[in-house]
């Protein structure tokens, strides 16, 4: 009975899923005719609808332009480097935070910490970045003052003027800003774990670390995997606002990423074809990454996006 019903065409289920498909066709697939812009020379065109029809195709010229750009290599290295750096450090941070928070038994404390850490999400990067810049300033910034008082350094360090510090600064400030917000989904996943499992484990004599390791972590593993797969696919995307506000002319060697570079030479100059081509290029890589990592994950972890 059970087996036959699962092979039978389940119309209500199919219908529900198709509602999403119809939505995407209208709001996502219909506008995709815009991708054609990447394959035509429409830089500086004002009447886009007309130009979409009248302008000739130039093949992959816009993509080649980007790949041949003098700075392509540098911004690519920075984008990937910064993202890998962030993936290794920023991705686990909210998970660890959620696990630690889960171990707190004092409900009031738990809620307070959760609420406080959730706040920075609402402060825009313009403001948050401004706070970071003034704290790191070599001119009486609090970090330098503290380090000097502790006798760790003699002369103040210009953290933001040194490209070597940039990835760390971006990562750490990103973690602080996103920690509480990022932990919400893991807390929800933890809340969904069946209490009986813990009770059974206690009876079996499992200690807290064992419970964390054998119940909590597996309980949220599928959420972790999904978010990890999606993060991996974002390898070429950057938190634009954050990078843009923290970068300056002296750390540009490490802070110029694809998004900021394209913003400077493309978007603000109405180079539609060029910017669309870069976007399509990025999307294509992201799609490949998701497909690849999802396949691997299905094979080895037996979990994936679906």
């Amino acid at each position: 009975m059970n087996k036959t019903s699962s092979t039978k065409f389940n119309f209500p289920v199919f219908f529900m899923a198709m509602l999403g498909v119809v939505f995407l066709v209208i709001f996502n697939y219909l506008p995709m005719f815009g991708i054609i812009i990447a394959f035509k020379d429409m830089d500086g065109v004002i009447n886009i609808t007309k130009a979409l029809v009248t302008k000739p195709f130039v093949g992959f010229q816009n993509f080649i332009d980007f790949l041949n750009d003098k700075y392509f290599r540098d911004v690519m290295i920075n984008t990937i480097g910064l993202n890998v750096f962030q993936l290794v450090l920023s991705f686990p941070a909210p998970i660890i935070f959620a696990l630690l928070l889960n171990e707190v038994r004092h409900l009031g404390f738990k809620k307070t910490v959760q609420t406080i850490t959730y706040f920075p999400y609402f402060v825009s990067w313009v403001v948050f970045g401004g706070i970071v810049i003034s704290m790191l300033s070599s001119d009486n910034g609090i970090i330098n003052v503290v380090l000097q008082k502790l006798g760790l350094i003699k002369e103040p360090i210009s953290f933001l003027a040194n490209p070597n510090y940039f990835w760390s600064i971006a990562t750490v400030s990103g973690i602080i800003k996103g920690l509480g917000w990022g932990a919400v989904i893991y807390l929800a996943a933890i809340a969904g774990i069946d209490v009986e499992q813990y009770e059974a484990a206690i009876i079996d004599g499992a200690n807290r670390f064992q419970r964390m390791l054998y119940i909590t972590l597996p309980g949220i593993l599928s959420t972790i995997v999904i978010l990890l797969l999606l993060s991996i696919s974002n390898l070429l995307n950057s938190s634009f606002d954050q990078i843009y506000v923290l970068q300056n002319q002296l750390n540009l060697d490490r802070s110029e990423v694809i998004d900021t570079y394209v913003y400077k030479i493309g978007i603000s100059e109405m180079r539609y074809s060029f910017t669309t081509a870069v976007g399509v290029f990025k999307s294509f890589i992201a799609f490949l990454l998701l497909w690849g990592s999802n396949t691997l994950s299905k094979k080895y972890l037996n979990r994936g996006i679906y």
Partner: protein, 294 residues
């Protein structure tokens, strides 16, 4: 609940200290912003306001609250959040239910059809042209309809639904329940934590939105709160220049963009912030009790 012992071991001490430390770091931006928002603008620019306002002033808030657009903005933002959140969460959850079922035909294809849109888009102008064709531009519904469905949220939902023991579904089918009833009466109530999370995401998204208001509407009556605040901050840079007009010092403007921006953050984030405890309830205590037993 299952462990009454209140003694704290080493790990607990470490944990508490660590979390307090994290809280101190993350609460600082809030204090900084709050102090700045209550400080007089020109005085603030002397620097050194870190914890408390030095020259207390309500001018930054007055500037925001004296503007009629604030109330229009609040009205629109509240409306779109109140309508858009339940509608978006419900629609996405329903699709997710379909997507989470094992017996969904063409499951793989439909998934990739969904995932494709996470990355590829046609760009802003083609999107606008579609909205215009649907007569959604310059309409309140441009805030609601295009945001009914989110692929990302669908993935999270569907993942959660899959974790719900299959026996629950089976026994309901045996009882003759229809799929929609199972989704509505069984799955949704069992998914409160994720429901709360997604509602939070969608709600905050609606609350913080200004991009659609900025590009897809020109009617000032449809302006959202965040768009108003973005504009107010931009306009404050004009106020700053106005000091250029030769005026006696006593009538000189005391506003600075920085402090107005801080006040704007406070005004815009406090309401949504206050809603958090209601969501939090489900994140901390929302435990499935005896679900398998049915």
């Amino acid at each position: 609940m299952f462990k009454r012992k209140s003694s704290l071991n080493k790990f607990d001490y470490f944990n508490y200290i660590f979390l307090i430390l994290i809280s101190c770091i993350t609460i600082y931006p809030f204090i900084y912003v709050l102090a700045g928002s209550f400080n007089q603008g020109t005085d603030y620019m002397n620097g050194g306001v870190y914890l408390f306002p030095r020259v207390f002033s309500l001018d930054n808030y007055k500037m925001i609250f004296n503007d009629n657009r604030l109330y229009i903005g609040f009205k629109n933002t509240i409306a779109r959040t109140l309508i858009g959140t339940p509608a978006g969460v419900f629609f996405t959850a329903m699709v997710s239910y379909g997507m989470s079922r094992k017996d969904l035909k063409f499951k793989k294809q439909i998934y990739w059809f969904n995932l494709f849109t996470l990355f590829f888009s046609g760009g802003l102008i083609p999107y606008f042209l579609v909205l215009k064709t649907l007569s959604l531009n310059n309409s309140f519904w441009v805030y609601i309809v295009p945001n009914l469905y989110s692929v990302f949220n669908m993935i999270i939902f569907a993942n959660y639904f899959r974790e719900i023991p299959e026996e629950i579904h089976e026994s309901a089918v045996v009882d003759g329940a229809r799929e929609f009833t199972i989704f509505w009466k069984l799955y949704l109530p069992l998914s409160k934590p994720v429901l709360a999370t997604i509602a939070l995401w969608v709600g905050v998204f609606h609350w913080n939105s200004f991009f659609d208001s900025m590009l897809f509407t020109t009617d000032p009556k449809l302006q959202t709160l965040q768009l108003f605040l973005v504009k107010l901050i931009k306009e404050a840079s004009l106020g700053q220049g106005q000091a250029n007009i030769r005026v006696p010092a006593h009538v000189m403007s005391t506003i600075s963009i920085t402090t107005v921006r801080y006040a704007a953050i406070v005004v815009s984030s406090i309401p949504i912030f206050m809603l958090y405890p209601f969501v939090q309830k489900y994140l901390v205590k929302g435990v499935m009790l005896g679900s398998v037993k049915g």
